[in-house]
């Protein structure tokens, strides 16, 4: 065998491959001709929702303007996604789990105005949700309400409030119960602290926590977004799980916003705005309800009323003084969560 020839061939083919690769990598989207591309950076559980909404909006936009829309979707824990946008992930729209995660995009990276939440109806939240319990079939541990979660031998699954939006809603819902039951913030802290001693794993996002509970069979109760719980109950493991509605929970408002600076840069302002407004139309609201989120349109909400139990809901603005304050008090470094989770 002639080694020189072998190596020369190897080098040539490698060089050709890399040249091809560079030319392939060169072509990536933006706005061109009669088509437009929107990057939607969203939180964990909305994958199925946008898979349903995006084609519907594309058809609507095509009919209205003749323009083709394509979507680039990115999903992850809400806090992590917010951080990525700040670090330069060029989202045209941010559809995250809670207002604070969009607030920091405004305050840290100045990519959208501080009053972004006034741009769309209902605090820019086209749907709401809440936190419920998912338990195994037959409810073997007899879990009815928050006080049952801290009984000896009950394992609770919730993601990490540091990275997950859903987990922050879980935490605050638990806090609201503790405050109501004990009459003070001190009582609430004692309750939540006890609750977290019963948590065997802290996943980084809501979807990870659901997988831990549903697929890996860990834990007795999952504190979950109502939409995740309904998805697990009706689709993933039909007949294997039950939803328990607690006596008190929290009204979760996952907001949406156009990331103004990025949309301007990409020339996608009009279509991004229309996309978010589309979420409030009856068609999108039905898709929202079918994916187990509570629609903001009262008429559609009426239609799906049987799916969503009425429950006593506390709110972030009324009971916790808004997200900026709640984030600082409970979840920032040195906050309540750090205090109770380290002093185990």
């Amino acid at each position: 065998m002639n080694a020189g020839i072998l190596n020369r061939r190897l080098f040539l083919s490698m060089a050709a491959a890399s040249a091809l690769a560079v030319s392939l990598a060169g072509c990536s989207g933006g706005k061109s001709g009669n088509s437009v591309e929107i990057t939607n950076v969203s939180y964990d559980p909305t994958r199925e929702l946008y898979q349903a909404v995006n084609p519907a909006f594309a058809a609507y936009w095509k009919k209205k303007t003749g323009q083709d829309v394509t979507f680039r979707m990115s999903h992850g824990g809400s806090g992590k996604q917010s951080r990525a946008i700040i670090d330069g992930l060029e989202a045209d729209v941010a559809t995250l789990a809670l207002a604070y995660d969009i607030d920091v995009i405004s305050s840290k990276a100045k990519l959208l105005p501080a009053d972004w939440q006034k741009a769309l109806p209902d605090n820019s939240s086209p749907y709401t949700s809440t936190i419920v319990f998912l338990v195994r079939k037959g409810n073997p541990k007899g879990i009815r309400d928050w006080n049952d979660l801290v009984k000896p031998g009950v394992q609770v699954i919730t993601p990490n409030p540091k990275t997950s939006g859903g987990a922050r809603w879980n935490f605050l819902a638990a806090w609201a119960y503790g405050r109501k039951a004990g009459g003070s913030d001190a009582a609430a802290e004692a309750y939540v602290k006890r609750l977290f001693t019963q948590v065997p794993v802290l996943d980084s996002g809501a979807r990870g926590a659901t997988t831990t509970f549903v697929e890996r069979g860990i834990g007795d109760v999952l504190l979950a977004w109502e939409n995740e719980a309904l998805l697990a109950e009706k689709k993933l493991g039909a007949g294997k799980f039950e939803i328990v509605v607690p006596s008190i929970s929290i009204l979760a408002e996952p907001p949406v916003a156009v990331v103004a600076a990025n949309a301007k840069k990409h020339g996608t302002e009009a279509v991004s705005k229309a996309y978010l407004e589309y979420l409030y139309t009856p068609e999108a609201q039905v898709a929202i309800a079918r994916n187990f989120y509570r629609p903001s349109d009262p008429k559609i909400a009426e239609q799906f009323a049987s799916q969503f139990p009425k429950l006593n809901l506390t709110t972030i603005d009324k009971d916790f003084g808004g997200w900026t304050k709640a984030q600082k008090t409970y979840f920032d470094d040195g906050g309540v969560f750090d205090r109770i989770y380290t002093k185990k």
């Binding site: 080694a3 020189g4 072998l6 190596n7 190897l10 490698m14 060089a15 491959a17 890399s18 091809l20 690769a21 560079v22 392939l24 990598a25 990536s28 989207g29 990057t39 964990d44 994958r47 199925e48 680039r72 979707m73 990115s74 999903h75 992850g76 990525a84 700040i86 670090d87 330069g88 992930l89 060029e90 840290k108 990276a109 979807r207 990870g208 997988t211 697929e215 993933l236």
Partner: protein, 283 residues
């Protein structure tokens, strides 16, 4: 692989000890390597070959496969050239800072992949050192293909060099000196003397480098932005599918990755055999 750590000479251990050790090693292998591998393939084919093929032919899966191949096709040749240059410099010449260079080459091995990813976010991210300048000039690195390539090149940096340095050190520089004294220039020496001497070692390093480039998760995950159909490599796509409860899809893509790894292993074994033959003949 025959390391004598104690004063026993090989062959003096009792027969039972040998059998025991071999059984232990085989059981360990079966449990930690074979079982998971079988699980991946059986999960992927759980619902038959049809759903498996659908999952692989899905446009997002296809673009993840394409991206992974592109990343490997760029970062592997880059690191091949770098590895060659570095080992050539280190083994054939002496210069100040040589030991420092040797240590630096190993850096990607000792740093956690997540940290390697974050380094690039800190450098090129919008809030990073070079971020504002890059964005003003319309250059996208982080959360785009260039960022993934950078992270992969960084992670796979040492493979070729680490493979070649010991080999070239062992071979010494007599052959090159002979070539030069017979009138060959540097390029001729490299092409006709050095390269043929190291070709199997080089290929072996390239294969290892390639395996890691295709399989890297941590560093790539940090810089990817996870945009479906665009910045998801195969390992990232596996995670996404798994989180969407698409287990057949997740394991189908995972089994492709595993198959790539198996091909690499077979090639590696063949090369090792050739390589042993070759270097054995030199002594």
């Amino acid at each position: 692989m025959t390391r004598k750590t104690r004063k026993v000479t090989p062959g003096t251990e009792s027969r039972t000890a040998q059998v025991l050790l071999i059984t232990l090693a085989l059981a360990f292998l079966a449990f930690f390597l074979m079982l998971p591998l079988i699980a991946v393939f059986s999960e992927a084919l759980k619902q038959g070959i049809g759903p498996f093929l659908d999952a692989v032919a899905n446009p997002d899966a296809f673009s993840a496969i394409r991206l992974t191949l592109i990343i490997a096709a760029i970062s592997v040749p880059l690191n091949m050239v770098f590895g060659l240059a570095a080992s050539w410099a280190i083994t054939k010449f002496s210069f100040p800072g040589k030991n420092l260079l040797l240590t630096l080459i190993d850096l990607p091995f000792s740093v956690s992949p997540v940290v390697s990813g974050l380094i690039f976010v800190l450098l090129f991210g919008a809030q990073g050192l070079l971020g504002p300048w890059l964005s003003a000039h319309g250059v996208k690195i982080i959360f785009a293909v260039p960022g993934i390539i950078l992270a992969t090149v960084f992670i796979t940096f040492p493979f070729v060099a680490r493979e070649l340095i010991p080999l070239m050190m062992e071979q010494g520089k007599e052959d090159e000196e002979a070539a030069v004294s017979l009138g060959a220039n540097g390029w001729q020496t490299f092409w006709h003397v050095t390269l043929p001497n190291i070709r199997w070692g080089l290929l072996y390093g390239v294969l290892l480098c390639n395996a890691r480039a295709m399989g890297e998760f941590g560093a790539v995950s940090v810089v990817s932005g996870h945009i479906r159909g665009e910045t998801n490599t195969m390992p990232l796509h596996v995670e996404i599918l798994y989180n969407e409860y698409d287990f057949v899809g997740a394991f189908a893509v995972a089994s492709l990755l595993a198959a790539l790894a198996l091909v690499t292993l077979v090639l590696k074994t063949v090369l090792e055999w050739r390589f042993d033959l070759h270097s054995g003949a030199r002594h």
